[in-house]
Amino acid sequence: MSIITLNGISKVYRTKEIETTALENVNLSVDKGEFISIMGPSGCGKSTLLNIVGLLDKPTIGSVNILGEDCSRFTDNALSHFRNANLGFVFQSFHLIPSLNVAANVEMPLLYRNGVSASERKERVEKVLERLEMSHRIKHLPSQLSGGQCQRVAIARAIVGQPEIILADEPTGNLDSKMGSEVMELLHRLNREDGVTIIMVTHNEAQARETDRIVRFFDGRIIS
């Protein structure tokens, strides 16, 4: 059963001088519980694809269907609510909020969801941090954490709202290999235990081979 369906997606960036085609007629279907990696050289359009799947960007042509909903027609508000309920993001450079401690960072997505009480938020944050073995760092600021720990917190933030889909943009790109493999292990565990669908952009061939499927991009097209 397909959880994400991209139909005939093209993305063209226009400026006064030039027109750049980032994606050209991309069709992609991802099944529920699948862990796929997207590979390809820099500027091939894989980040653009991730942004479109993440509903942060709109395709020039084509339709995006996630969890059975045609997302191309959503208003900005609806998109926000949809992202909040169903999508989790993990970034290469973590993008934790430097002023907030670990708990507050993880709690953030729940703040944008209606009807989650403060006590429930606290409970869920503690639970997810315990699961990711970060409970002992709950009061720390991001600047007091190592890179690997930061990415764990970022992953905790991505899953605290229990989304169906996690979008990870080179999650190990800023980490050394040991920390990187720890993070990969964690993603695999989430995929296995919770059945979360994961789409990951990566440059690491070895990491990609461990996932269910590799989608290769070149010049805005899927080549395999």
Partner: protein, 424 residues
């Protein structure tokens, strides 16, 4: 809320210059605004001995113009003051009195002469202005009508004249004329321009000394305590009718009155009476105050807006991440405005406190009778009442909205992808 405070503290630590510029700018704006507001409050808020301010009307002047170019104006004489203002309907008490106190030399049995503020008023005066009688009694209507040489004096004047003993019944000199003390009242605030005084002496219809002439001119004003719920305009309508009656009499000499919207309420008196031959203009006073508020809000708001914009520039990627995790545009705007409101409030509280300290220590801010012995600064309850607190809150809110609106809107319009990937 807590995370917003955390964020503010973090910003203060990491962007101290921008943080301090914001807080000092806000504090200063609110400080000046509140000083302006408090000057106005002191002039209109009821406090003893003018607790009646909300119900007080004062007929102060008479202006008569003639066809021959003759034009005269001043206070009223005893007769005319009564003819225009006595026995109006809807009035609880009417006092015929001096509108402004005047300096006089007083001398006790032992000491040298010194100058005090004296006010001549009839006995009704004590029913309108709430002085606190400490000793003795007020003078009676009979004493007032007879212009008896008795006086009610303030506590500190009594102490200076006689010490602490044998004050009531004792005699002292006012401008070399002996007067007997019948009562001692508590020291009262010279900020109450119409009701205060250090020495009160009776005046009545027979007191010629307040008449400038026998036609209409003198130094008598009429203070009226309006009954609860009576519209001031109904009083003014009656006064207008009395003016019209007076006009028929004057027309024989080819003269007529000029009305000038009398009697005046406290708000009008506070805005300044521009002499006996001009209409007061509380509206233009209000407009000037509004213009001052506008400048005091608008000019610093530009700074605050720029500073907030800078703070947001440092947090662009955070904004992107929040948007990615489902924060709507409205929510983002609301969050930024709320967070900024907290900063504005911090500055606002500092400004308000500075304003209260300044306004309660620097008496030079207010109109007072010259060189008054006691209580030249207003009490804290006049300055820091629910009115001023709400006003400062309101001004903080306006300052916040005009300074945060544009940066918040800009932040909400950011493309999340560009924002996430933006360098600091």
């Amino acid at each position: 809320m807590k995370t917003k405070l955390v964020q503010i503290l973090y910003d203060m630590r990491h962007q101290p210059v921008i943080g301090w510029v914001t807080i000092i700018g806000t504090a200063m704006a609110i400080f000046l605004i509140m000083v302006v507001t408090m000057i106005q409050e002191v002039a209109v808020t009821p406090f003893a001995p003018e607790s009646c301010r909300d119900r007080l009307l004062v007929g102060v002047y008479m202006h008569v113009a003639g066809e021959n170019g003759h034009d005269g104006s001043s206070g009223l004489n005893q007769k005319t003051a009564r003819r225009i203002y006595a026995g109006l309907e809807g009035i609880e008490h009417t006092s015929f009195m001096q509108f402004r106190s005047e300096p006089a030399d007083v001398k006790g049995p032992t000491n040298d002469a010194f100058t005090v503020q004296t006010r001549r008023a009839d006995a009704e005066f004590w029913n309108i202005f709430d002085h606190e009688l400490i000793e003795g009694r007020y003078y009676t209507p009979e004493e007032a009508d007879a212009t008896s040489k008795v006086a009610v004096i303030s506590e500190s004047t009594a102490r200076r004249l006689f010490g602490s003993q044998n004050r009531v019944g004792n005699t002292f000199m006012i401008n070399h004329t002996p007067y007997t003390v019948v009562g001692v009242v508590a020291d009262n605030s010279s900020l109450a321009l119409t009701g205060s005084g250090e020495v009160f002496i009776p005046t009545g219809i027979n007191d010629e000394s307040l008449n400038y002439d026998n036609e209409w001119s003198g130094d008598v004003a009429a203070a009226m305590l309006v009954k609860d719920g009576v519209d001031f305009e109904t009083i003014r309508d009656q006064v207008k009718a009395r003016y019209a009656a007076f006009d028929t009499e004057l027309s024989v000499k080819g003269e007529r009155t000029v009305y000038h919207e009398q009697p005046y309420d406290q708000r009008t008196i506070a805005s300044g009476l521009h002499g006996s031959n001009n209409s007061p203009d509380p509206e233009s006073d209000r407009k000037i105050r509004m213009a001052i508020y506008l400048i005091l809000l608008l000019v610093p708001a530009i700074n605050l807006s720029t500073m907030l914009h800078s703070r947001m520039r440092h947090r662009i990627s955070e904004i992107g991440v929040r948007r990615a995790f489902g924060c709507t545009r409205t929510r983002l705007i609301a969050d930024i405005i709320t967070e900024n409101f907290i900063v504005t409030l911090i500055g606002g509280v500092i400004g308000l406190l500075l304003g209260v300290v300044f306004a309660s220590t620097y008496g030079g801010l207010y109109d007072t009778m010259d060189n008054f012995g006691s209580g030249n600064t207003p009490s804290l309850s006049v300055l820091l009442n629910i009115n001023t607190i709400l006003m400062s809150l309101l001004f903080c809110f306006i300052l916040n909205i005009i300074s945060a609106a544009i940066p918040a809107w800009q932040a909400s319009r950011l493309n999340p992808i560009n924002a996430i990937n933006a360098r600091k």
